[in-house]
Amino acid sequence: MTAAKKGRKMTDKKKVAILWLGSCGGCDETIVDINELILGVVNSVDLVLWPVALDFKYHHIEKMADGEIALGIINGHVRNSDHAEMARLMRQKSQVILAFGACACFGGTPGLANLRSKEDIFRWVYQEAPTVINPKGVCPQTTTSLDGKELTLPEMFESVHSLDQVIDVDYYLPGCPPPPYLVLKAITAFLEDTLPAKGSSLASHKALCDTCPRNASKPNKVSITEIKRIHEVEADPTKCFLSQGIICMGPATRSGCGESCININIPCRGCFGHIELVADSGAKFLSGLASMIDADDEAGLEKISEQVRDTMGYLYRFSLPISIMNQKKL
């Protein structure tokens, strides 16, 4: 850290806000996981909001001037009116918005709920699920009158949205959650004013296969005659998963995770999302997978196709809300 930066007065510090929307908490956890280095970050910025760790209230943010926050970090997806309202407030008050984690960037795993309508979800959760006992058919409403008072709840939207379907986003930091080293890199780039062009992903620009240690074992032409699921076989820890007939999203996924899944013998599930200029990484992967299939006739082809259990879970585990068929601006 330079002497000039060290000597900066409290008031000179850049204001940073961290907000969670529809989030599991993992993205906040990864910020904590930068361990003692977080103290350096905390010392160099003025944290004005971090609901998971600090007691600041939303109305503090409302009172701030527009653009007063230098960096707004938002994790989680947008599923209800409360999320949307907070996202818009952050956009108004922040110079730079960073979509943090797969949920904010692409909708994330909760986005798979978009395969069901809101109506279906409510019916299942409040009526039909075998564990539900609800004879009166109670179901949450956005407004309820009680003792002359009106109680309100946020409205659940029809579908899960990525952050950029709701507000303008400046940068993306993918991952579920993003690994601590990339978080630190992103925050350092922000503090040192070395952020790339607006709209960039703050991770690698290569596909995972390009950085995967197993790539060398991948034959020029992968030929799949049977698709196996990872729990059904003992995968060879040195060989490319696809060459073993195990679905690995590496070819269609951005690198930068540190190959953390591959290193523990688990195939890539795609949490870093698409690489630049790819409109729908699920569809792209499907295309690549099809070309690897080695079947003599239509019946053989159908058989292998049936072996792809939970196709949508493979193709869109983190990205259904931004897929061609599903994407929708709020």
Binding site: S287, L289, S291, T311
Partner: protein, 143 residues
């Protein structure tokens, strides 16, 4: 109420379909026609985009088996389409709405008929909404 004519998007490979005929004539008889070079060029992205933009059906005309100008583009297309059926099913789009037909017709005379046959099949399935297939599926399930 008069039923709307199903919208069929037809991709066809130039090597077997209509290369001797006049492109204007074929285009005049096929509303959503996209001539291409090799069905192996058709990506699931194109097919999904057609459905997203409101196609009721997608018909792909490729060269006969063993007759691909680039060796096996038509077989590659078949593989992609077979896998894509899994995706379409999740969106509530019936298998009949996407069809690969391998054959040849240098003057392209039969192309309107093939599209019409596809339209007839699709008409029996009823219309589908272009921009929100999920809602459509849920509505169908509650009936």
């Amino acid at each position: 109420m008069k039923e709307k004519e199903p919208k069929i998007v037809c991709f066809s490979c130039r090597f077997s379909w209509g290369y001797l005929g006049s492109e204007e004539d074929i285009a005049a008889r096929l509303e959503n026609w996209i001539p291409i070079i090799c069905t192996g060029k058709i990506d699931p992205v194109h097919i999904l985009t057609a459905f997203r933009q409101g196609a009721d059906g997608v018909l792909i005309l490729g060269c006969p088996e063993g007759d691909c100008h680039y060796q096996d583009g038509n077989i590659e297309a078949r593989k992609r389409i077979t896998l894509l059926y899994n995706v379409l099913k999740s969106y509530g789009i019936e298998r009949e709405r996407l069809k690969l037909h391998l054959g040849a017709d240098p003057v392209g005379k039969t192309m309107p008929q093939l599209v019409k046959e596809m339209a007839d099949t699709v008409r029996k399935l009823g219309p589908r909404s272009g921009d929100n297939p999920i809602q459509k599926k849920s509505a169908a399930r509650t009936k």
